[in-house]
Symmetry: D2
Subunit: 315 residues, 4 copies
């Protein structure tokens, strides 16, 4: 508090030198701003959002980066996160901020719930194929691998370079909270169809790559055309989504890290009658702050791509 | 040729200073040795093995690290590797060198085919549960992640630190040759049941972690006990296999890298009725040279653990 | 040749989709362009530059990223690079492209020689202190550490992730060519004063950090003020150079990677009467293409910071 | 306390399953053991060592891995570490545990002070050349680079993989405590000659590489022979020290990590009249526990190489 941005973050090279941190009090801040991004742990975040809506002007808009307003089903949220939701009414008005799939609702929303990073990679890859009934909603496997920044900045021995460099591991197997978020947004929850989701920790900083296995149920003559058409109908005009034909190399993390893009590629397993989809995002951009800026652009009527990198930087 | 081992590999610290490289001519070498390890590309390897058997003494023994003698079904091998096998008769006598599952046959074998690295991690995890009919042979997904040494030592831009550090990608999706090796050894080929296998490239040097999804078909009262019993009956006395109960943390690469061990852990997905198995090996030891030494120990009547590290070194 | 930029570099996310590669023939290209960047090995680069100057229009401008036009002393260049310079006259007109130190000459130059990456980090740190006679020109030690991209993109076992990850080494000790470039531009060559330069290879992709040791010869009352004043007089208004006071943390690679900045920090060794300077750049930006763009901006009268990132991206 | 070793360290693969942790009470432990390794922070370590000597049997021997008994000059120790030494008498009897240089004294010592990791790499490289008056004691620069395990296992944001991967930085510039340890053991302190020591943090787990610059004062006819002779006279018979001739590649971290070795290489800078020495160790073995085991072997009359790896494992 009271410190300059440029002082605390020397890597900004002196940019934003006139900005200063102030105390994180919603009541004080809300009347001063037109737009708020709330980045707090679940439970705490919802209360701050509610205060901002209460004390801010009539036209204030909020994007919450926690899980507090992501679920349609408040009871499901409460069960998964072991908290009581403070305001089901506001929750009902909150829009799930996956820009490409909920753009129309986001336009007029006052509060948007930024999606989880893993769900972003999984839902963008699966939604078009499920909607077009090309794949079965049953038996889907999402095997995801994430850089360590997915866990946030923390002083934790388990995230030290000595523990993680040269290492690789699964975690949260069968129990990760994002499973339910993916299921609800894909319409599986309503039909009580479970999905297998397994996150893994890569020994790098940034990026999520999800390898997804789904059973093909489409009886078309050319499954490749069918899949391409489905993705095209959803994403052809999207600035940040690139679907690669099976004849091209599959996307890899270096294709997207540093950008707000989601790259999707797929191969058809003829013997197994499965489609294997690879979906890549930068968890810190399309999986977090970039998605928030994209939603803000939509909510404020700005150009949707404003301030958002399309090209990765392959550092 | 003519160079001392200690000269070419300074990191050995002067060990083996009396060893010298000689020309790789099977006819010359075979009469001089009791035991040969053949590490050549498939196609080339089989011919060298055959020459060693021909020109070596009556009791010479050979371990081939290529794929040339791995398959029971020579036609399958020829299709997958696009070569003609030079000697089906010798192939029929070759034993698949997964020590823990083929020990009795390895004991008396003259030629042993060292398994592929990915198949080692997958077969050790799956065989007990398939044999005991705890999981269905259908719908198995093996999602594997390997360090870059799996591709061998090569001058290739794609394996440079600039391309790989911070990167992660899938490769060989639906087409990797190890798929057929896993299928044959699990008895799936005979029943024409395909398995999904997807390898990925980790931005590290060593280690394979396979995440395996299989449908539970067992109607027992306690699936955890059932799985534990199955693994116990296969691996209880094994020096190099450690199966971890679901109450323990899952194995990770740092548990096994530097050792000849395969660590296996699992979780039961109650909602999905799937078991998720995590299987870890060091691809350069249990997945290659360590397995070869273990097989040599068995073939020569030495103590099976001789010269093989049980503890990882977590570098 | 004939391929679209966007096709070959999918990570650009579709940007520059209308650009196409054409054959690298200087005679054909020169008349078509106003400005050329030449990125070829030394020896080859000078000839291409000369052709571009010959066949381009009267006002064509060229930036050469090789060492061919970097030296004032052609004989020194020929000795160090073991080639014969094709055109000493043009060499005499070429300006050394360290923007902050040669800006006035760059403005009106037709051909600019982009500095080497190591020399950029060393010269920017040392020049102000040498000019102000704060440090001795004798006994300077430059101990530099670079990411692997400094060696360019190449298919070379020595740069594979298996050889480099977890590794670190010195190379070119006492023999690296950049030693003479640093010496000439610091005015040491003229006085036959040698400098010690030792490059090392970091197991990462990008960034150079040079740790520099120099003897203090200034007999001022407060060496810290003296050094700060010297740097201030050179760099106070520079957009891309940030000198950090000794009371602040020293710069580290993550401060600059992804930006066109050079960050400089220092500590005074009172017992040793030495100053220890730490100088950081991104070798691919300030040490190569970014510096070229900065020079182009100066040569063309554009805003000098156009298109150049000031903030690192800490990937 | 009360936990089995094998339970807490699963990567040991079940080894040492009969060992159990007990409460760290010196009075209780001392009478039970013949030999103690004390690994505690400085200040705390000396008191524990003194208690072990007091309550242990007459023949008990102790190796302290802290800095508490490393200095001959107690006042220097107290100044550098800002503590009061509890027992100067015992300190006077403690022997500095650089096995190769103090072997005779270590043989009969009851308490040995294990050297710091950086000092080990620097002293082994410099001592022979200083003793033979080949290099000047003045103007020595030790520029060291260490893996992150040098800082110990700790929950600290600064050592998280997100902060360190792709990063590199200097720290403790002009102030690191190991400077005084190096100076004392090289005999510089007595003559009030300061040495420049700069440690850096590599984005890897293990290994120290020190690049050392020293002025040649020897007026021999062939400096290379002179240096080789000096090292030979000290290290020719040493199992863990390998000095590489200048015609060979310099040592790198992968040469030594995983071993108890120190590899030393050097180049002569003819123009600068300096020798540049590169010295590599594994900070966790020769720089810590390996050196302790080597000292124990000497103190107990065991074979000095018992239990200590000579070959690196290049993970």
């Amino acid at each position: 508090v009271g410190k300059k941005v440029s002082e605390l973050y020397p890597s900004l090279g002196g940019a934003y030198s006139d900005l200063e941190f102030i105390a994180p009090c919603a009541k004080t801040i809300a009347p001063l701003v037109d737009f708020a991004f709330v980045c707090l742990p679940h439970g705490a975040s919802s209360n701050t959002c509610l205060e901002i809506l209460e004390f801010g002007g009539k036209n204030i808009k909020v994007i919450d980066l926690s899980a507090d307003f992501r679920y349609d089903d408040v009871e499901l949220y409460e069960k998964i996160y072991s908290v009581t939701h403070p305001n089901a009414k506001v929750n009902a008005k909150a829009v799930y901020g996956l820009s490409e799939l909920y753009r129309d609702k986001i336009k007029s929303a006052q509060i948007v719930a930024n999606p989880g990073c893993y769900p972003t990679s999984a839902i963008l890859a699966l939604k078009p194929l499920l909607d077009k009934k090309i794949i079965s909603p049953k038996n889907i496997v999402v095997d995801s691998k994430s850089g360590a920044s997915g866990a946030g900045r923390q002083a934790n021995e388990a995230f030290s370079i000595c523990e993680l460099s040269n290492n690789f591991k699964a975690y949260g197997v069968t129990t990760h909270r994002h499973t339910s978020e993916i299921e609800e947004k894909l319409g599986l929850t309503a039909n009580d169809i479970p999905l297998s989701f397994t996150p893994h920790l890569l020994p790098i900083k940034r990026g999520i790559l999800s390898t997804i296995y789904a059973d093909i149920i489409c009886d078309c003559s050319d499954i490749n055309i069918c899949v391409a058409d489905a993705y095209n109908s959803y994403y052809k005009k999207e600035a940040f989504i690139k679907v690669k034909a099976p004849s091209n190399p599959l996307p890899e993390l270096s294709s997207v890290v540093g950008s707000n893009c989601c790259h999707i590629g797929y191969k058809i397993g003829k013997r197994t009658n499965k489609i294997i989809i690879v979906s890549c995002i930068d968890n810190l951009i399309k999986g977090a702050s970039g998605a928030a800026v994209q939603n803000m652009n939509i909510m404020c009527g700005f150009s949707e791509t404003e301030g958002l990198p399309k090209a990765g930087n392959q550092l």
